[in-house]
Symmetry: D2
Subunit: 340 residues, 4 copies
């Protein structure tokens, strides 16, 4: 059994705690939070775990194998560095760090000590995203043309981080996982309508070496909740709507084919006949409804044992942080294209 | 009765013809199309109108008061210039022209001759958009924060013009009408997945002097049809969903207020209590279902008689063409911000 | 070419006229309506057809092959009897007649004279219903368990006929076509909220010899428009939603299986494990978007030529009229089961 | 503080336990379940409560004020009678009992001993239903015309009780609360497709002295989940859609008015002009999102203190049981109308 400590018991921490407790391969050894009241609450719920407000006390336990760091992002780098230095495997809440150089340092440190470093890109582990991955990899949708994602709602405004750092890790990690292509540039625009200096709406565009494009709309100030991603391929197209209770993924047998020859007649109709539209069946595959965090914990534990590689390893975390940094820089510079 | 000729009987022309025929203030005198077969078809349907493949013959009729030009955009400038020179009032299908300088010339020409020049920005005349205008002007939604529009579907690919020139006139004219603010810059990104050189997907961003922003997604290659605009104000927010059969406009009594003071506690919760979310009723006003073109024709005829001003006059057409030109230029330059 | 006359140019007649005109196998010879103004209007639109307010004049034309009767239902029997007596093939708007005995008489008359008698059960010819038929016949959904149909909206109130006679022919004919089973009884309840004696809401239940059941909700006084049919089989289930613009038919790989054995434990959980739920993919087949009336006319013309049998023949019309009569009788008797 | 014991810790019991624990006016004194494993589980979660598999031990505690009975319906009568006999206030999970005479006995017993007897008709306490009540009582929708409810999904099959006893208490109690009218008869039809003798689909119709009608569709074997109620009034109409995440209640300013006079012309159009359709705004009021059980517990505790009357008292429970009994009887007799 792998002995795990969870540092940070705020909004997301208790979900990780619960999933480690329910996992037979793990033993929850420590819970840690600087908020004494919250710590006491969690302590009562899990009396077999030791509780402390000081994360160093957790790391000092020689019997502890691994820690999950679920604290504000500004603290990730220090906590993770100290944990790796103390020879603990580390799972970090997204985003991995606030700077790419920090992420790079953690990756090196983990590699040197042969420790598992993993980032909790939760959505990658959902049944919906895993099913889309399967479809994309099967070649069924053909070559990818674009990725368009909208994640908007009347959001919980965050302190210190803007809507990009809050919401973009979800969609950027999903794209990173599904597309497996490296963008060559980022441009982004944002606006602060509520808190000066904290963007509550942002549009992020990723540029690639060819005509593939990816675009994202993040918004904390939308009257309606939309979480929809369009993924177009040359053969088929996918709509991933996370609001749908059951049919979250739909595969459309739709598309456009063109012919080489082309009549130069005067009427639109002449031309249109040379574009051939395909409109076929729609298919909504069954989605594994298991909580994504279950697979996050399972993957982390398997990686520690050497039975698997982390699906969202330090390198994945670094790629997302690089995009976040570049998007932030572009917003500051009024939308200038930032080369990667 | 105002005597009207319609030049161009392709996809949209017959709709204008029908609306002029049904309007008691107008008399359809001429129909014109270079496609003889189409012309004959329309001629049979409206035997009282004269038919000709040559628009010059239409303009040469001294008894004719006005023409509607419903031809490919590349011909708008020449046809309209000739019509104004022949002392005819002119209604032009959107977009007004392919270049701002051409639009400017038409405006001057019409002004000099005291003729009505009007552009058919049809959506401005819909019950939905007029209702939104009414709500915005009432002050009910407060100061405007952003305008976000998505117009995507598996579209009819056009020859010679891209998705921006095809779809953006709709949303840009709606925004121009509703917002009444002048953007200071445009940036846009597009990609050509089907026809080289003809963008089938594009994202357009309008920059303003303050933190108001407007963003548009145009797409001919989407598996699903979405036509949704979010308009956020400091007091309320509007969703305009043109796909909805009846409740096209919804007003959400939702928003966020902030307090000046702010506790610098360690926990997110401390901060969140200082942001106050408003979530109230939703209201879907009844929308006038009358065909928008009815009002377009009515407005055009009233303007000719001097009884009204065109809601979408040459200047409105020019403003939209300027945005289209700038968006096109930005796409060519990889998204560079084009100052207006 | 088959020469056709259309008797009745009200709401539905012009649609049939247009479809006969567009069909190369037919020639529109006569149009007929007692409303002179309407007749003149139609006459102008189709100048090659002869126009008369007197249906007897139509029937007297020895060159005429067939008539379509699109008049109020009370006139169907007389007009059709006279037409058959004049040796014309007959297509009648649904419902076939107001009484089963009348329908029976028409069937006999047509059989005696070897004429085609067909009823315009339009929905049977839609792409959606034909696709469902294909799925049901393939055995894919297993044995049928129930048929549940809701057709409600804020309807156009009819004079003289109630909501059952107005709306039920649609769903009863769809069911008759898809299910191919004879009900053994009908019970129905209705209420008159607007016009005394004219039910605007009704629930109709068909009883069968086994545990299959069919239920219908018809309503002219609903705030929302719903046209949804659930068809459950032992293997799969179908939802037919006619409001959906494209995905009108969905096939759900869902169901319940039971095991013979059963633990008599105290807890619900013990039992539930013995019911096995299947929840698999959802599939929305592509639907032929061709206007159903096109196929109605095509089928009628082919039947006249002897190339096909009418899909909705006099017998189909009679079966629906029998159900309507029984439903009406049951409503009058407060819901008493009427044996068939 | 009122001392409460909860008898039955299956599916619903823990929800009541949690709500009593969170209510400051209550103290959870006992938990009881015959399933030792489940009891131990609950015991660990609430160590301050005493745990026993024998409900008699709970009732024997002289310090206990009240019990909540959340056991299979067949046990309700005995457990509640014993509890009242032991001088405990009683809250019973819906439906109150399996027979009306049992419910009557409990009501008398509670009245004699001046004890609170309340049934957990949870939906009555939801924000949505309370808001509808407010609207109905305000007179805004006019006189009620009909109540139509559909509650279908791929359900958890119950042992021993059919879909009517499982689902109908929800909708019947909602109707009873909203409509405040006594039905004069019940007819119902059901079918058993999975378990012999246990209906998985049923249609229930309530008959009233006038032309108001109420109809219900209950179904455990539906491919889709629908929970929608239409409530029509002479002035407005309400749609209550419990699946909607936020806009559960919509008020439609729609309806039909008739005129006394009526032209006896030949055409439908002549008549239609005399029916006047109103189609106005749609309004979705904000709904209190508080968990309904919170108000159930609050109302029960207030009733015990004498500060309030139970909204869903024994009489309400009895009215629902009477309808369930009659519906069951009608199903057995093939849909015969059962007078109340």
């Amino acid at each position: 059994m792998i002995s795990v400590g969870v540092i940070g018991c705020g909004y997301w921490g208790p979900n990780l705690i619960r999933n480690f407790v329910e996992n037979e391969a793990a033993r929850l050894a420590w819970v840690c939070d600087t908020d004494e009241r919250r710590l006491a609450e969690i302590g009562r719920r899990y009396p077999s775990a030791r509780a402390t407000p000081d994360y160093r006390q957790v790391l000092a336990d020689p019997a502890l194998d691994a820690v999950a760091i679920v604290t504000p992002v500004a603290t990730h780098h220090q906590f993770a560095r100290d944990a790796l230095a103390a020879n603990k495997h580390v799972l970090i809440e997204k985003p991995l760090t606030t700077k790419a150089c920090e992420a790079q340092e953690l990756i090196s440190l983990a590699a040197d000590r042969r420790l598992t470093l993993m980032v909790d890109h939760t959505f990658v582990y959902t049944g919906a995203v895993r099913k889309i991955k399967e479809i994309v990899e099967s070649g069924e949708i053909g070559d990818l043309l674009y990725f368009d994602s909208v994640r908007v709602n009347l959001g919980l405004f965050q302190r210190d981080i803007n809507v990009v750092w809050d919401l973009a890790p979800h969609d950027l990690s999903i794209m990173d996982y599904l597309i497996e292509r490296e963008p060559v540039g980022v441009s982004a625009i944002g606006s602060c309508h509520v808190e000066p200096g904290i963007e509550n709406i942002a549009y992020v565009m990723l540029h690639f070496a060819d005509d593939f494009i990816a675009h994202f709309h993040f918004n904390w100030l939308s009257p309606v909740k939309i979480r929809r991603t369009l993924i177009a391929g040359t053969k088929k197209m996918i709509v991933y709507d996370d609001i749908e209770p059951t049919e979250k993924v739909r595969v459309y047998d739709k598309g456009v084919d063109t012919r080489g020859a082309r009549d130069r007649g005067d009427r639109e109709d002449d031309y249109r006949t040379l574009i051939s539209y395909r409109t076929g069946d729609v298919w909504a595959p069954q989605i594994d409804p298991t909580e994504a965090l279950h697979y996050v914990c399972q993957n982390f534990l398997a990686a520690i044992r050497g039975d698997a590689r982390p699906v969202t390893d330090g390198a994945a975390g670094l790629r997302v942080v690089r995009l976040l940094e570049a998007a932030q820089e572009s917003i500051k510079e009024g939308g200038r294209l930032i080369a990667l």
